[in-house]
Symmetry: C2
Subunit: 515 residues, 2 copies
């Protein structure tokens, strides 16, 4: 007898899914049982649901296919929402499987009952409550088609316990398929080509599939300034790759950069907006300009559009970026103290070829990006939705998606504390993840924003709420508690040596870089 | 000039609120500034929003007045939803202040934008988006009136950044007041009195204000068996207090207990339901019985109803419960190994008078409850909504609400890992909180539920997802990482000695009790 739960997992398996980031409870046990009965889907435990959803986001960005999550009822989904928000902004395909109370029990309003549809709707493009075991296969197939249509999105499939356990019969394979990307807009290609060709200072703002693979390669042949969106899902950079500037985080800096160009083509992202609204500063940087062409938006296929644009312009292969070539041994024995720039320089100098760099520190990320352009060729992923702390969960997903590649994560102490539980996954799965914690013992971004808001003499609450020094978090102990070895460093030389040790040792490691 | 943000805090202060559990970001900085400008409201930092909301729940249960939370946009609220779910089920009054993007910036759909109203609606009885600075005082007053009407509920006030910073003018005090409880139903009192008087085996099932203070005292005078609801918000127990059985967690056990009585009066809770639905086991235990009277439901004032019932029945003061009197020194030097029962016996024997016991371990809580009836008189709080891991956050709120009272928390390793960040609050606020981690290195409840579901030979995924032993969490290191000293114990004597040490030492402590 095939159950509804087994049909869900069989369908996922038949569509090439093989990883499920799980934090199940009682109402998900038939799905857990189905994982065992069906086989072929690996369950990876997260100690908190936001670990599962952040790992699913990281996995999807790198594996190029959807991840499953398995979450417990409404509160379990609620716990995972912040990283699903990030995943939604990354266009990562993720299917959440939510166990729900048995249909006949739900009317008793048991303690864990909550409005799962309302929670799911905030992050999901597709939400469904499965009503019969026989429909489980079709529902799962439609969920998968939904999340893999176009650039990717989130689906949530709610599976009542009685539906999971009921006999499903022999369900026919569902006749569904993902929708492709919208066709490349040839008019926009022609307009973009004319705009760039006639400009004195042309630039292309890139996102999505414009930041890696064939999209980045085509962009590199255009011979114009390339700018990456600030909150990118996945980017390839380092020596030999087309050089990409990055749109600054603060609006006045972003606006100033974009104002340097008399032609801007946007591919794979939307017209850029400010992260926060500040009085007298812009929300939208490219509004009211007539020298902008939207070649492909954030849900269109930037790679195809850029390839067409390069052909239209007769663009040739560009000379590779010479970059700086930092010397791996440049910091050996250095007694220089640490700051965000030094941490970035040391870490990028040590970055192994083909590494995955997970860069989600808040106030310490910009320096890393600048120096990473001269590092060995690597993939870089960033925070897309602004819900901070995703780094260690992204690293878990990246490690699962990319066995054989070293993951190097740059996270902060303030943001890292949000989902410190993800370190347990690094240990449990014995992943090659090296985490560098930029431990400045404060929410530095809050101090910066207080200054920007003109609060130059903040009061005791404002000072206190940005202060993480009483007591300071002891990251080496936290890592040990979750099974990850680590060390604390205070100089460039110590950081360099710790990185070198970790990179030649299999398994996870954490370096607390104090400044 | 008074700003909208200042008007919010002034109004809260004028209505006697003085604690705000906060994890602010950029869009909440005017509210942080207002905390400093207005004064009188203490900001307590949580490293994660679920710390803030769980602490608010614990604070509200013990302080008898609402707590404020300050959360960052939709993702911050999302992070705090699971404990707001628990707080909703506890009828804890909590007002969430959510900073939102400036109104004029929101239409740019910046990265952190999300449907805050949808998230808030899942847990809140009252949700409002403030539209002008001048309305901030009235909106805050109405939020407070909403959460303190009747037994208590959640309100969420969404405050756009531009509304927070705008000039508010001199707002008149808002003319609002909380609604009281519904009047006691005198017909129900008369019916309950007749039912109990004519029964051979009468019982009263208690919740809400029936479990402490005048409600419990009145119930104790009825001379009938008293049963506490399983998921209670706050209960007073220990030597000298009316003895309370507790409704079992599993439905067949709960049903069997209730079937022993030929008259059941329910006061301060709803007609009881099962936590989960199991095939062939009941959802609702008291359905189809004609020997049940609902004297006061979960939103009515059980204390007044029970007082009226005691008067109607001419009930006299009952003899206090003799209880067992465990000897404080009974476990000194004992080399007996640990299990849930032994941990409960040792901990309850050491429990100081007037302690607050926060008992949220999952599979280890029932034993604690049984033994706590013979402990020194104390207050006990439990998990109300089933979203696990709230213990350390509840303890933070309890410690802030009850300076001078020792908080003793019994938490598990599996559930404790969900919000381990709350330990930082214990250290930062230097609270007298002693946390005992029942470290059985597994999600024991999952194993029990697998057995109950007849999965006697679980496969590798089912076994693995319930297993927390590879690696085992090192709770002493985790505590140290967050600034809390601790020790690991494996025998009753070691646990006893560690408890004794902690209870005579100011400040937080964590004991990892391994079994």
């Amino acid at each position: 007898m095939t159950t509804g739960a087994e049909l869900v997992i069989e369908t996922a398996r038949s569509l090439d899914l093989d990883v499920c980031f799980a934090n199940p409870g009682t109402t998900e046990l038939p799905l857990v049982h189905a994982l065992d009965r069906v086989g072929g889907v690996r369950a990876v435990l997260g100690l908190h649901e936001n670990v599962c959803t952040g790992a699913a986001d990281g996995y999807a960005r790198l594996a190029g296919k959807p991840a499953l999550t398995l979450l417990h009822l409404g509160p379990g989904l609620a716990n995972g929402l912040a990283n699903l928000h990030n995943a939604r902004r990354a266009f990562s395909p993720v299917v959440n499987l939510i166990g729900e109370h048995a249909s006949w029990h739900l009317s008793a309003d048991p303690p864990l009952a909550a409005d799962i549809e309302a929670l799911a709707g905030v992050v999901s493009r597709w939400t469904r409550r499965c009503v019969s075991a026989g429909a489980c296969g079709r529902d799962m197939a439609e969920a998968l088609a939904a999340v893999t249509s176009g650039r990717g999105s989130i689906a949530t499939l709610i599976l009542p316990h009685d539906v999971q356990t009921a006999a499903a019969g022999d369900a026919a394979p569902a006749v569904v398929r993902p929708r492709g990307y919208p066709a490349v807009d040839t008019d926009a290609v022609a307009r973009a080509a004319r705009l760039l060709a006639g400009a004195e200072a042309p630039a292309v703002l890139l996102g999505g599939s414009g930041l890696h693979g064939s999209g980045l390669e085509a962009a590199g042949r255009l011979g114009v300034t390339l700018i990456a969106e600030v909150s990118f899902a996945r980017l390839e950079t380092g020596r030999g790759r087309p050089p990409l500037r990055r749109l600054p985080y603060f609006p006045e800096q972003a606006q100033a950069l974009l104002d340097q160009f008399d032609a801007i083509v946007v591919a794979g992202t939307r017209l850029p907006v400010s992260f926060f609204g500040y009085d007298d500063k812009p929300s939208r940087y490219l509004e009211d300009r007539d020298d902008v062409v939207l070649l492909a938006d954030q849900e269109e296929d930037a790679a195809s559009a850029l390839t067409a644009l390069a052909a239209e312009m007769g663009a040739k292969r560009a000379a590779p970026d010479s970059g700086e070539h930092p010397d791996e041994g440049a910091f050996a024995g250095s007694s220089a103290g640490l700051d965000a720039d030094t941490i970035a320089r040391v870490t990028t100098a040590r970055l192994p070829e083909d590494a995955v760099a997970v860069v989600t520190a808040v106030s310490s990320s910009a320096a890393f990006y600048e120096h990473s352009r001269g590092a060995a060729p690597h993939t870089q992923i960033a925070l897309t939705g602004g819900a901070i702390g995703e780094g260690s969960a992204l690293s878990l997903g990246a490690g699962v998606a990319c066995p054989g590649r070293r993951v190097v994560a740059l996270e902060a102490d303030g943001s890292g504390a949000y989902i410190v539980q993800a370190l347990y996954g690094h240990a449990r799965e014995n992943l090659d993840v090296t985490t560098v914690i930029c431990a400045n013992q404060r929410y530095r971004i809050l101090e910066i924003e207080l200054e920007r808001a003109g609060m130059r003499r903040p009061g005791s609450n404002a000072t206190d709420l940005a202060d993480l020094s009483r007591p300071a978090l002891d990251w080496v102990s936290l890592a040990r508690g979750f099974g990850v070895p680590g060390t604390r460093v205070t100089t460039a030389g110590e950081l360099d040596a710790a990185l070198a040790r970790s990179l030649e040792t299999a398994g996870p490691y954490l370096i607390e870089a104090v400044f």
